[in-house]
């Protein structure tokens, strides 16, 4: 190990311990378990800084945080699945004694042995870890894929196809149309005004139409069709730009959250 690495590691350990002691002292009187609380806040700050250190370059502190994240989150989702699905939904359908043990309410309709099927399929899925009989895990996999296909067929047809098309047919003169005279006498460019509403509805209707033209590849994009396709590209470009801006702002708000944690909860500077 290089001398610099050892010095940095020693400095990190000393800072960690100092922070732990100071935070525990700050929590004394506020919390019963102030030593543990001090450790947790210090550890969370350490993990935040360890992940941020990747901005400089890949380093052992980032790798530590990354590996810890993988292990802890895998176990977290396993536990959540066990308690929310297996215990809450499966156990009361299969065994009264187990339901009593886990203190979950028994079902009014009684036991349902049909629910042994997913347990058997689930156990078969675990056979994937075996090289010799791993192929049996295709059966539960087929069940999962089949359920996804069957559910998505209807769900997407309803929500992503029919509903989206029906929502596109909006009144192009606006909902509160009171005639051409009233329209011109109330003409302004306020965000909630009738003109803006009308333009919005036109943009939505033509935008969806032209966007779909762009995605239609069975005909050459020439003439009127080509013009529609070009407008479709413009609409899609605005969409990508807006999505990009929205995503960046979401990430920045997360960053603000972490910086607030560091300066308020950990360092108590703000």
């Amino acid at each position: 190990m290089r001398k610099v690495t050892i010095i940095v590691m020693a400095a990190v350990i000393v800072l960690f311990l100092a922070s732990w002691i100071l935070k525990a002292g700050a929590f004394q009187g506020e919390h019963d378990h102030y030593i543990i609380r001090g450790f947790l806040v210090t550890f969370a700050a350490f993990l935040t800084l360890a992940v941020m250190s990747f901005l400089y370059q890949d380093n052992p502190y980032y790798k530590f945080a990354e590996h810890l994240f993988v292990g802890v989150s895998a176990a977290f989702w396993m536990c959540m699945g066990f308690w929310t699905t297996i215990v809450q939904n499966l156990v009361p359908r299969l065994s009264t004694s187990l339901a009593d043990f886990f203190e979950v309410p028994q079902r009014a309709e009684g036991l349902n042995f049909f629910f042994y099927t997913p347990v058997i399929l689930g156990i078969l899925l675990l056979l994937r870890l075996s090289r010799k009989i791993g192929w049996i895990s295709r059966w539960p996999l087929a069940f999962i894929v089949g359920t996804t296909a069957g559910l998505n067929f209807i769900r997407y047809l309803r929500s992503d196809f029919i509903k989206q098309i029906s929502s596109t047919f909006v009144p192009l003169l606006g909902r509160d149309w009171e005639g051409i005279g009233a329209f011109f006498s109330n003409l302004d460019l306020s965000a909630t005004g009738q003109l803006v509403m009308m333009v919005s509805n036109w943009v939505i209707f033509l935008g969806v139409f032209c966007g779909l033209i762009y995605f239609y590849f069975s005909r050459e994009h020439k003439g009127v069709f080509g013009a529609g396709s070009r407008v479709g590209i413009w609409i899609l470009m605005i969409t990508f730009g807006a999505s990009f801006g929205y995503t960046v702002m979401g990430r920045i708000s997360l960053l603000v959250g972490r910086i607030t944690f560091l300066f308020r909860d950990w360092l108590e500077l703000i």
Binding site: M52, G71, V72, A74, P118, A142, Y156, W234, Y246
Partner: protein
């Protein structure tokens, strides 16, 4: 056996779920199958966990590069698994909500998973900003539109954007940057998203049909046995 049974299972399950929407007596079957899916998915989580342990034990055993970090993964995994499954420190005991306030499981989520997860995502802000600085060039009309939309959305969600156009009168309020940002999100962005969503919907429906009819078989893997 290796291909015929999974193909049959998929076809039957998929068809039953589609038919159950049209036949009220089969409606419960559809709900049961959805629950079956959730239960098998939990076993899939366990499979994923088992695989993670196997890979990291293997790395540790063979002392491969960065094997020391595998200890961190395994320690984190088993620590979380034990406190989560045994509900250690949960004030409500075995019958309580696993995420009850004060339980070790919830504290580990609050002070380990949450900071790691949000910092990982926050890190993307830097990479996206640096990538967009290099990639975004108003070279043509399309690129300019993308750039402008992104710029207005970013500006519209900051106090600076509000301040910049606060002088614009109410009768022209659409020209105020925050209002313009909202309009872009609710009109052209909605239209574009909708066109994409309709395309995705059609894609999912056709893929579901291909799976149920046994045309799409890639999920079975490469083994042709």
């Amino acid at each position: 056996m290796r291909r015929a049974i999974p193909l049959t299972i998929l076809a039957v399950v998929g068809t039953v779920l589609i038919v159950s929407v049209f036949l009220p007596p089969l409606e419960n079957l559809g709900e049961d199958f959805t629950l079956f899916f959730d239960i098998i998915a939990v076993f899939a989580f366990f499979l994923g966990g088992g695989n993670l342990v196997r890979i990291h034990f293997n790395k540790l055993w063979r002392k491969r590069k960065d094997w020391g970090f595998s200890i961190v993964t395994l320690f984190g995994f088993f620590f979380m698994l034990v406190i989560g499954l045994l509900k250690i420190g949960n004030p409500g005991g075995i019958g309580a909500d696993p995420t009850a306030e004060g339980s070790w499981f919830q504290e580990t989520f609050n002070y380990v998973i949450n900071p790691l997860q949000s910092t990982m995502y926050a890190l993307l802000a830097f990479f996206v900003a640096s990538a967009s600085y290099r990639a975004f060039r108003a070279k043509n009309r399309e690129a300019t539109l993308l750039l402008l939309a992104a710029f207005i959305i970013l500006l519209g969600r900051t106090p600076f954007g509000v301040m910049l156009t606060a002088w614009v009168p109410e009768s022209w309020s659409i020209a105020q940057i925050p209002n313009l940002a909202v309009w872009i999100m609710n009109s052209p962005n909605l239209a574009g998203q909708r066109a994409i969503i309709i395309g995705i919907g059609l894609g999912v429906v056709s893929m579901s049909l291909r799976l149920i009819l046994g045309i799409e078989r890639s999920y079975l893997g490469e083994d042709r046995g």
